[in-house]
């Protein structure tokens, strides 16, 4: 019974977890993007992969906000694109992106990360 209750309460944590990879060279960029994600209140978990000109931001929105997932995605994406027009940004609330980018955070090889990010971006465009 207690475990059931704690299971339900897990969804009630309001802490944000924002992680960002340190593959890119521009410190300022990194910090800025991190700040923008942190600012977005609806985001519970944000994992960012920066490599060359590609930015992949995988987010997980707070519980019960799932219905507005797409809008939050689009809003954040627009924000970042306006600030950094020459970066290829993709913000996704898809679980696959989150899972894969979590794995990529550890990855050292820049080429591998770059390929993987490109692959993930293609995957995000698939319809069926």
């Amino acid at each position: 019974m207690l475990s059931l209750v704690s299971l339900f309460l897990v969804g009630c944590t309001n802490e944000q977890t924002v992680e960002i990879s340190d593959m890119s060279n521009d410190e300022e960029e990194r910090a800025e993007i991190e700040a923008m994600i942190k600012d977005t209140e609806e985001v519970q978990t944000g994992t960012t992969i920066l490599v060359e000109d590609d930015v992949l931001i995988a987010i997980q929105v707070k519980p019960w906000l799932g219905f507005k997932e797409r809008k939050i995605e689009a809003k954040l994406q627009k924000e970042i694109e306006e600030k950094y027009p020459d970066l290829n940004v993709l913000v996704s609330s898809d679980y696959k992106m989150l899972w894969e980018s979590q794995k990529l955070l550890e990855e050292e090889d820049e080429k591998k990360v770059s390929d993987e990010v490109k692959k993930l971006k293609d995957l995000a465009k698939e319809e069926t």
Binding site: D94, Y95, K96, M97, W99, L123, A124, E126, E127, T128
Partner: protein, 151 residues
């Protein structure tokens, strides 16, 4: 004896339908089936190249396959006797309806028997499902053109 009097006697001697118990059983079994479906979705996302969007089709196909096997083995029927709506409402119930009707139609041949009878129970689901989807989309289209909601 007049019908009114009879109705009374009939009702007094007929066991009442245990609605609460049935609802609980349906809730639990339906929930478990959906949890299994979600687990399969996660499996597809984690171990294969599926996204949230694309894993939907694969999950449904897998669930229907499982219900097909269970129906053929005569096990889904036993689950249905226990769970009622809990096993009939999820997509596995739809699979069961189609497969059980197909199995039964075998004796009249493939075309008229299997083909003709397969959607005996599920036909309404398809018809009214597609029909209501159309009308909901229409309503949304109207509301969007009026500017009340956005896509």
């Amino acid at each position: 004896m007049d019908p009114q009097e009879y109705q009374q006697i009939e009702q007094q001697n007929t066991p009442p339908t245990p609605y609460l118990k049935n609802a609980l059983k349906a809730f639990l079994v339906g929930g478990i089936i959906c949890a299994i479906g979600q687990a399969i979705t996660f499996l597809y996302i984690i171990f294969f190249d599926f996204t949230d969007k694309t894993a939907g089709n694969a999950t449904v196909a897998t669930m229907v396959f499982i219900s097909m096997v269970l129906t053929g083995l005569g096990l889904y029927r036993k689950l249905g006797a226990f769970a009622g709506a809990g096993s009939a409402v999820p997509v596995t119930g739809f699979g069961n309806a189609v497969v059980s009707a197909a199995i039964e139609g075998k004796t009249e041949g493939l075309v008229l028997g299997v083909g003709g009878n397969m959607f005996k129970l599920a036909g309404s689901v398809i018809l009214f499902g597609v029909g209501s989807a159309f009308f909901i989309a229409l309503i949304k289209l109207i509301l969007v053109s009026m500017g009340v909601v956005e896509w």
